[in-house]
Structures are given as structure tokens and as C-alpha cells.
Symmetry: C2
Subunit: 219 residues, 2 copies
């Protein structure tokens, strides 16, 4: 666990907390390290969650499969990202999605009650962590609204452009990589893969985008 302290110290949750302080807080927050093989389920729809999870290695998808086997991908997590904040409230009910490892990966679980309840004395930085968590949820909220913005586009082409241009903006460059292959991107945008692939090529032929594999560029 110790080796992940530098990564934790750079996360949103521990912003402003020195690495040595993070290490000191681990016990106080009941931190537990878990590792997963690619494809393994980290969390399952319907589970109840009393922890906040921070990915410290590898990556994962937040997704849901319906009865007919069609999948929808809600989001993507990589090292440094947090999951489960929204279930911090008591009686927040079971998870609405699965979290599945897309690589071999490692995650640290923190007891949510210990995170949001400032402890008696030791952790001087605890109040800061509570505030960071608060702001993290605000940001996730905005990210969800943006995803809804993509999903509310009426055509596949518009969905693609909406997503790709936001991603370019987010990554601060017209050339960027996305954490999805074609099928995953289709599941993320809730469209058909082949139709989407078709639209991507039309956009390329129209000189609007360039791409190779999961690397895209807006022109």
C-alpha cells in the first residue's frame, strides 16, 4: 500500500495534503488495498458500498449490462480517479452500475464514514479532505451533466462531435487519446458500433477529424 502513497497524494481527495500526512491518515481512514485482473468485477450493480474507492493502478469502466446483453458504459476510471462518493450518503441504496477492470489494476478502499467524519485529534488535514471530497462530487456532477449533453444529441454524428470536442477541450489539445476502442465508444454513446464507425469515416473524409486507433485529432 505504501508504494501508492505518492499517487494518493496527487488525487483530488488529498489535494493540499503532504504525502507523509497521507500515509499517516491511511490507518485512520481504514484504507484497504485490493488488486484485480483484467476483466474482473471490482464492484457489482446491486452491491451496497460503504467505501470510497480510489484507483491507484490500471483502469476500469463504470458500466451496466441489461437483460438482452447490450452494454452501456457510463464512464472510465484510471489511476488517481475516485469512485463511490455519490454513495457516501446514508441510505443511498445499492450501486446502479458495475465497475470492471479494463487492465490489471489496483484500488484502495476507504471507509466512507471515517472519511466524512473528522476524527478527534490526530489528523489535522482531515477537514481539508472532507472539503476536497465535497468539491470532487461537485465536479463529478458537472461531468455527468456534460455526458448528458452528449447523449442528448439526436444523431450519431452529433454525439461523436460533442464528445470528441469536449475531450479535446478537457485534455487541452486538438490531438488526444480516448480510453475506449470502437465498441466501447459506441457503448459509451449508446449507438451502434458499425453505424458509428461509418460516421467516423465520413467525418474523416469530410476533413473534420483524423484518427488512428484510439488517437483522435480535430481539424
Amino acid at each position: 500500500m505504501k508504494k501508492y502513497v505518492p499517487i494518493l497524494a496527487r488525487t483530488q481527495l488529498f489535494r493540499g495534503v503532504e504525502a507523509c500526512q497521507v500515509e499517516a491518515m491511511l490507518h485512520c481512514l481504514d484504507a484497504r488495498l485490493c488488486t484485480y485482473q483484467k476483466g474482473e468485477y471490482i464492484l457489482r450493480q446491486g452491491d451496497t458500498l460503504d467505501d470510497i474507492v480510489i484507483m491507484v493502478e490500471g483502469s476500469a469502466h463504470i458500466q451496466k449490462d441489461d437483460y438482452w446483453g447490450s452494454r452501456s458504459i457510463l464512464g472510465h476510471l484510471e489511476a488517481g480517479d475516485m469512485f463511490g462518493e455519490a454513495y457516501a450518503a446514508p441510505e443511498s441504496g445499492p450501486l446502479l452500475n458495475d465497475v470492471v477492470a479494463t487492465d490489471n489494476c489496483a484500488a484502495i478502499f476507504f471507509d466512507v464514514r471515517r472519511v466524512i467524519t473528522t476524527c478527534s485529534s490526530a489528523c489535522v488535514f482531515h477537514a481539508l479532505v472532507v472539503q476536497n471530497m465535497f468539491f470532487a462530487i461537485c465536479e463529478k456532477n458537472k461531468a455527468l451533466v456534460q455526458k448528458l449533453g452528449h447523449m442528448s444529441q439526436r444523431s450519431t454524428k452529433e454525439k461523436l462531435l460533442s464528445y470528441l470536442s469536449e475531450e479535446a477541450k478537457r485534455q487541452g489539445s486538438a490531438a488526444f487519446e480516448i480510453p475506449f476502442n470502437r465498441q466501447q465508444l459506441a457503448d459509451f454513446l449508446s449507438v451502434d458500433r458499425s453505424a458509428m464507425s461509418n460516421e467516423l469515416c465520413k467525418l474523416r473524409d469530410a476533413g473534420i477529424i483524423r484518427f488512428a486507433r484510439n488517437r483522435f485529432e480535430l481539424l
Copy 2:
């Protein structure tokens, strides 16, 4: 403003705070009452917001219009509902949506910094309000994920059933009212109104639902 104190006391933000205490906190939170005519903009996309807004009368839609005039409705607010929590974080950027009065309505604005910063002495309940706000954002987060669940359905019929069954569950009854007319429901689900109307009638003819105006029943 005083007349809305009982309503405020029943909101999520002031849960656990007595009405008389709420009244005492109004000044401390820099509460301001604003009223709007039906159709008026309460907030505009691109605005920066340093307040948390609680609707105390009437109702409003959170929505966005694109350049081609097509509208997408993100959500609905009525008396007691809160808006703007997600912009509580500093540097959270401009609003992504408009908020538009769908009735004559009244809203109270609270200075967000005063809400999330517990003040020196007077307000013994302030810490409770901070926690309530935290949980409110968690809940909104879950609501957004559920909306994404509806939007990620591939067909209009599935979107309708996903939304209607969640609404039935949320309202705790197979018979319930929705805060949208047909055009608004279509804008909420990002589908075409006439096609949706058609699907609704097919569902009715198949004996799956009943409806009249904005009153629905699942069979």
C-alpha cells in the same frame, strides 16, 4: 421572505433544523428572494453562479437550447427543490444550462460560501446544513446517473418505459403525474414528439400503460 420559512424548513438543505432556526439563519446565509413570471429566465447558460438556489413557489425547467433551436430538458424543479449545488466549488466555471420558470415562481438565493463555511458562533445548526448539502449533491448525482440510464436506452419505447417506471417507483405509486407535457417529455428524453406520442399510444393499446394528459398509470 418570511412566509417561505416553513417551506425552507422542509427542504433537504435544512433537514433537522427547526423553522425558527431557519429564520434566524437567513441573514447569516445572505438569503435573497427573487420572483419570476412564467417563461422568464432564472439563470442563463454561461452565467457564473455564487449562490445556491431553492425554489419556494412554482416550478422551473433546467434546459438547454442549441443553435438550431432544438431543446433538451435536463430536469425539473419545484417548490422545495435546490439548484446550483454543483457550482459550489470554486472555479467550477459557468452554468451549462438555463433555468426557466414554467410557472410564476419564487426562488431564494443563498451565498454559497456562507452556506459551506460554518460561521463563528451564532448558527449552531450550520454544521448540519453543510452535511445536508453534501448529501443533497450525492442524491443529485444518483439522479443524474438514473437519467443517463434512461437516455442510454436505444429505442423510444425503452426510454419511455425506463423513465415512467422509475417515476412510478420514485412517487411510490403505479399512478402518478409527470411535470412535462408531450413536447417537454420528448425534449427530456431527447426524442421526437410525434414519434414518442405514437409509441405512447402503442404502449397504451398493448395494455402496458394508461394515460391522460400528464397523468400516467403502469398496468
